[in-house]
Amino acid sequence: MEKEKYFNNGNGIPQAWNSIFGMGMGMGMGMQTSEGFFNQNCENSVDQRDIFESALSSIVSSPASSHPGIGPGIPIPGGTGGNESIVVRELIGRLGSICNSGDNNGNNSTNNSCYNTPLNSPPKLNLSILDHPIPGNSVPENTILRNPVPGNPSLPLAQFSSDPGFVERAARLSCFSGQSFMGINKLSTQACEESVSVSAETETGMKVQSTNSNVRKRKMVPKGKGKETQSSSTSFSDKDDKVVAEAEKVESDAKRSKSNDEENGNEKDGNGNGNEKQTKENAKAEPPKDYIHVRARRGQATDSHSLAERVRREKISERMKFLQDLVPGCNKVTGKAVMLDEIINYVQSLQRQVEFLSMKLATVNPRMDVSIESLLSKDMFRPRVSMPTNMNPFDASAQPFPYAFQPQNNGIVPDVSENQFSVNPLMAAMHRNSLMKPSHIDGLGEASTFWENDLQSVVKMALGQDQPQGFHGHMKIEL
């Protein structure tokens, strides 16, 4: 990882993270690379906090390039650190690890990032550790060293500085920093004050707050290992864009509440506010999910009745459009009344046709027995396009077909066994057809020419096969 590299470069000591961090801290502190500030944000679940603290990782400060001499073990030039560190920070932050920010303002910059992710910590949480240089030069440092370097008594005196940019970033990343020594907020600064004599810049804190980032810092319960070194504060930052998963929210809430209990009086005050704010935001962040969205355009009424009416009208017009496709000659008609008229006429005409045809069927020679096959074959031969208006199917059936059995299809005649309409040939034919094309499925009976063609061929094939068999004697093929 780049971080490690970074660290290694900085310290020259490849070691485990914690130790490295500790070393780094020690180094940094000892070096008093005052220019470097950093903040550590660590996420911890409450449970892990202890572990976390114990296993705490901490910050690294890299001396600015301007003071290379000061930091003996830290070869990172501040200038490069500024840019690179940002990139690295983003990458790492994405990965749920820490971010460094190195800023160089008037002073030499400092790059550092550290953080610790306890192994148990959920991967979702990101630790963002940023350090922010304060131009003015108050260099706050955080020491979250579990093992304070003995040589650095000055560590506890680190000052915390917060960078608004950092806060925003942290908020964006929705990182919860379990332990941070950042003086991002007032709160944190207060915490710092407690444990450390910090000159906390309330200005920066104010700034941060003005940025509307919700970053809370919590103070961890000091373990008392180090003298004062262990002042750990946890900062929780919520994203402003409410994308935080609910689980996370819950978790963070739990964390918050627990940590609140542990907090000191000062922090309690500050965190209390922060908590309220955050809970409010969480409530806000959960939008109603099942909710039919009706959007009123400009100038449209927005009361519920109007909206409902609009929805209803849209539904109606949609159905009208559908009907328009269904009813021939209705395409060019505009206006609902005219369309309704057309529809009514069409339905009436259809019903009249049914009546007429039924009368015709009644008068037609009733002795004719019909097999569905003949019906189907005839049906198939009729071109679909002219379906509603084509009264004579034989015009259509006279069309040339590439199939050899075509003339025979027209001439299928039910056998002499009149009135004994036996389902057998019918079913046999259907069954055969289905065997020919078992998996064929047609969505709509009408208007699928594709299907028509298929079935046509199928029927023909079936007929061709059936011819020698004579169809159980029920069917006779006329040529």
Partner: protein
Amino acid sequence: MSPPHQPTSINPNSLKIQLAYRFLHNLNNINTKRSNLDHTQINRKSHRVKVAAYASMAFVTGSRRAWSRSILRKIRNRGVLARIKKRVDHKASRVRVHHHLNARSTKRRNPSCSNPNGDYIDPSGNLGLEVKLRKLVPGAVMMDACGLLDETADYIKCLATQVEVMRTLVDLYSTI
């Protein structure tokens, strides 16, 4: 009606096939009672064929549509009414039957042709058109506008297919 040894039909999803099959079946039932017809018999038979056509449509569509439910109910009731009529015929008390029938029919049709919700397709247009459409589509008298249009669309589709089937049949008969 389908024999057990013929599990599948050609295309069970095809509306036309189903309609044709069903209609042929109905028609065959009618035709079995054929005789040499005079005028009144032809009228009666044509009526029966028509009923058979609608019945096949409704049967194929099933109970998922209001119009088919309405037709099926009508057909069922027709049988019931016919039986009642026949029974009462034997008793030769036709008048009471008429009363009975009228009572039944008026009870059902009283709220007819009125839109319960005041829910019209085109409030600014001619309401008579919509009422007319409601009368045309079976079972649509008590429906809101959206439902009416839905039913109309489905009904039209089915009816067109049925007309097509019947026309094919007529052509087949007349040309043979």
